[in-house]
């Protein structure tokens, strides 16, 4: 018995001893004394917590236990059951996990004569306070966004879900960083096959580090060549909760505020929690508006190129005349002109994104107003194109999904090129291609275009439109949930 204690301690000393702030503290608990050792990193473990929650209970146990021959088994029981040993502990059997726990800032407690270790969560890291998410702001709705700490994020979700079947499965990701990753689902809603598949894929990730869920996303998605996001990323806790309620699986990673929601469909690019918080006509209107914006952001520049340099006959003559007069003296073909403007717009966006907020606005004014105005006056680009480019830019920001909208922004350029070769025919080919591509990709077995292709009539009530909640009683059919009804179960 004793040898195992010593051996473990030696092992820990050997593996962790080189760290400058490692502490091995040996204590005697009780009168004859049982050897107890605490192993922690003084740099990241909270010593106050250590004193309060480990040392004190140990001493207290020792005092109370007047029995001359203290039993290690009993000590353990005493520690767990009768003292103020309240913060979360884990019993571990594998010394390797113990090493990782110590490296994560927790304290490992070894007790003589016991094969098990206590892992006491003493890790304390600087935390950001909970703020409104900066990428997905809403006018109406909760302002709670995830932060970098996994436990706080779990707390945020847990606070709102008091359901027995709410399950959190934790695994560690990253060969060298060993980050915590949590897979969240509601076990009697979510399809078990889906949960199993998510876990299988997450577990199969073998990387040194995954510093954001973006990396996880790209490891577990089905079509890595697609420009479309196949898993939804969100900072909003309410979005995660809604997703759980509809039978989806949420993945949280320690160190990033972005949660992953799987499976995702194309139509989620145009959906925002606000659709549910506002009354249903508004929700429906917003969705259609966002889809239109997505369409504009993808196709407007190429439609412009196609119409102006291939089929001017399609435009009403009055408009043609004003376009022709606005293009007077411009040296470039429409395609080149549009390309220049689109690229400079992207540069402008990228530049203002990286700068501090104050300067970013200045860049916006200089770039947008001054350069735009000057370019039109110097007859480099036509005023009409500025309208088109501006409209495209605004439309591309209308999607509530940031990663979706950047994918779409990228698509604009190849479509513009094909439009410059084939005109409107090229645009329609690009449209067919996108269609053919999107019907082929899947997100965790759910077709990306569902519930429109394959058509699921029941899911139509919450896809393009959002019907009043009175009629919205069923969970999405495409997710093949176990519990299909979400509201008004007893209505008869």
């Amino acid at each position: 018995m004793e040898s195992s204690f010593e051996a473990n301690l030696d092992y820990l000393k050997k593996t962790l001893g080189h760290l400058p702030d490692i502490v091995f503290k040996k204590m005697h608990a009780g009168q004859p004394g049982i050897d107890v050792a605490m192993v922690y990193l003084s740099g990241i473990a909270d010593t106050g917590m250590l004193n309060e929650h480990i040392v004190k209970p140990l001493i207290a146990t020792g005092i109370r236990e007047r029995h001359p021959q203290i039993n290690p088994e009993k000590l353990k029981e005493e520690l767990i059951q009768q003292t103020a040993f309240t913060i979360s502990t884990k019993e571990a059997k594998d010394i390797e996990t113990c090493v990782i726990e110590v490296l994560s800032g927790n304290t490992c407690l070894l007790i003589e004569g016991n094969d098990e270790f206590f892992v006491v969560s003493t890790g304390k890291f600087p935390l950001r306070s909970v703020e409104e998410p900066s990428t997905e702001t809403l006018v109406r709705g909760p302002r709670e966004g995830f932060i970098e700490d996994l436990e706080s994020n779990l707390a945020m979700i847990r606070r709102h879900i008091k359901d027995l079947s709410f399950k959190i499965d934790k695994i560690r990701i990253g060969r060298r960083t060993s980050r915590k990753l949590a897979v969240l689902y509601i076990s009697d809603i979510a399809n078990p096959k889906l949960v199993q598949e998510v876990k299988r894929r997450v577990e199969s990730i073998d990387v040194d580090d995954a510093s954001d869920t973006g990396i996880i996303e790209q490891w577990i998605e089905e079509s890595s060549w697609s420009p479309f996001p196949q898993i939804q990323a969100s900072e909003r806790s309410d979005k995660a909760i809604t997703a759980l309620m509809s039978g989806r699986v949420v993945i949280l990673l320690d160190g990033t505020p972005f949660a992953l929601i799987a499976p995702m469909t194309f139509w989620m690019l145009a959906q925002s929690p606000e659709d549910y918080y506002e009354r249903f006509p508004l929700g429906t209107f917003f969705r259609l508006l966002r889809l239109t914006a997505l369409f504009i952001a993808t196709f407007l520049p190429s439609l412009y190129v196609a119409l102006i340099s291939f089929h001017p006959g399609l435009i009403p003559p009055e408009l043609v005349i004003s376009i022709v007069s606005s293009r007077e003296g411009i040296p470039f073909p429409v395609f080149v002109e549009a390309l220049i403007m689109e690229v400079s717009l992207e540069i402008l966006r990228e530049a203002s994104l990286r700068l501090p907020k104050g300067i970013g606005q200045v860049i916006g004014i200089v770039g947008g107003l001054v350069i735009g105005q000057a370019a039109v006056e110097a007859a480099v680009v036509s005023a009409f194109l500025i309208i088109i480019v501006g409209l495209t830019a605004i439309a591309s920001f209308a999607s509530p999904q940031y990663s979706g909208s950047i994918g779409i922004r990228l698509l604009r350029f190849p479509i513009m090129i094909i439009a410059a070769i084939y005109g409107l025919y090229g645009v329609i080919l690009a449209f067919i291609f996108l269609g053919a591509h999107m019907v082929q990709i899947k997100s965790f077995g759910v077709p990306y275009m569902s519930p429109l292709a394959p058509i699921r009539l029941r899911d139509q009530q919450d896809t393009l439109v959002r019907v009043p909640f009175k009629y919205l009683k069923k969970r999405p059919l495409m997710l093949k949930t176990q519990d299909e009804t979400s509201a008004n179960r007893k209505r008869r």
Partner: protein, 372 residues
């Protein structure tokens, strides 16, 4: 489950089968169909012939479905070897595949001609065809599921464009253009039956689709309704075109539907020319037709080789490209259209009928549980 590598072990729903049948019905014919019929009849009796042809087509759908239902879990490619034996079935399969190649080529070439005439005058036909065919190949690489889903996705769009075309022309409609009915008896109608059946092709999809369905017993419903929708749209269009422009005018126009679209005055005048808009959106419909036939072809090849890879679904495009580039002018194209029409009649209606009769007489049936 049909033993087809291309199926990816997934079945299609009744509504998917229905829409696929609708979209397989030969989409290019509609553009010139009013003329080809009016040329033959020279009287306003255009729709009766088409109606007769669609009844005939419905019959063919019925034959195809019944044949497939006798052999659960088998496609047309598989079941005919059970009935006719290895060698003859090989011949039938190859004939069916050749037919698919022909239709696919004709459809693609016609599409390229429309685009060239109306939108891209100086672009070579080959360059119009190339990206189109590659897209067909790309879609086919996704297998049956991708194809039927695309049909579902785009069907509403083409349907709306089609209806828009008809609705916006409604003020040009004059009933006098459709009268008198039957004043020369049945002769002109029978005359029109010489040309109409080609546009009624499309029922052969049921040969392939029936046993991919989740509920093959609903195949007749899906095929029948799907086919009827397509033919109803055809009859509607032909009637409208004649009703708006009169038989005399229509029989002179190369593509009456294009001229029909041209005379639309779009409300609000934000779209000056409806016909280019129509033809370009119609490309989607033609794409679906071409993709469906191409899939039937590729399904056959994968059946023969028991493989499913890039060679299978991209290489046949070369044949289609070559064949669709072959016609030098509209005369050759018309002939090709005619030949593939006759060929299709034999392969898709005649042969299944014979096979069905044989299997009924000799009581040949597949395993009822669908296991091969």
């Amino acid at each position: 489950m049909p033993n087809l590598p291309s199926s990816k072990q997934e079945k299609i729903s009744t509504i998917q089968a229905l829409l696929t049948v609708t979209s397989t019905v030969y989409a290019v014919a509609i553009v010139s169909l009013p003329r080809t019929i009016a040329e033959q009849t020279q009287t306003p009796d255009v729709w009766q012939g088409l109606l007769l042809a669609s009844l005939f087509g419905l019959g063919a759908v019925f034959i195809n479905v019944k044949l497939c239902q006798r052999f659960p879990g088998k496609t047309f490619y598989e079941l005919n070897s059970v009935i006719a034996g290895k060698f003859i079935s090989l011949l039938i399969n190859i004939a069916f595949m050749v037919y698919c190649v022909m239709i696919c080529s004709v459809v693609s070439r016609m599409m390229a001609e429309f685009i060239k005439a109306l939108a891209l005058e100086r672009t070579p036909v080959s360059m119009i065809l190339l990206p189109f065919l590659l897209l067909v190949g790309y879609l086919t690489s996704g297998g049956l599921q991708a194809m039927v889903r695309l049909v579902e996705l785009f069907f509403p769009l083409t349907f709306i464009v089609y209806l828009l075309l008809i609705i916006l022309n409604i003020n040009h409609f004059d009933l006098d253009n459709l009268r008198p009915v039957f004043h020369q008896g049945w002769r002109p109608i029978f005359k029109s039956l010489q040309v109409v059946p080609f546009s009624a092709l499309g029922f052969e999809s049921m040969l392939i689709l029936t046993n991919f369905m989740v509920n093959p017993q609903k195949a007749w419903k899906a095929g029948g309704i799907g086919y009827s929708i397509a033919m109803a749209l055809y009859v509607l269009m032909v009637t409208m075109v004649i009703g708006c422009m009169s038989v005399e005018e229509v029989s002179r126009l190369q593509w009456p539907v294009v001229s029909f679209a041209q005379q639309i005055e779009f409300p609000g005048a934000f779209l000056e020319r409806f016909e280019i808009f129509f033809i370009i959106l119609w490309t989607i419909k033609i794409f679906m037709t071409a993709a469906n036939y191409y899939f039937y072809l590729v399904a056959g090849i994968s059946q023969l080789t028991q493989k499913w890879n890039g060679y299978i679904y991209y290489l046949p495009l070369i044949f289609i490209f070559a064949l669709s580039m072959y016609p030098q002018n509209f005369v050759v194209m018309g002939n090709m259209d005619k030949v593939s029409g006759y060929f299709g009649m034999i392969i898709c209606a005649g042969v299944p009928l014979v096979l069905l009769l044989i299997s009924m007489v000799f009581r040949i049936r597949g395993n009822p549980d669908g296991k091969p």
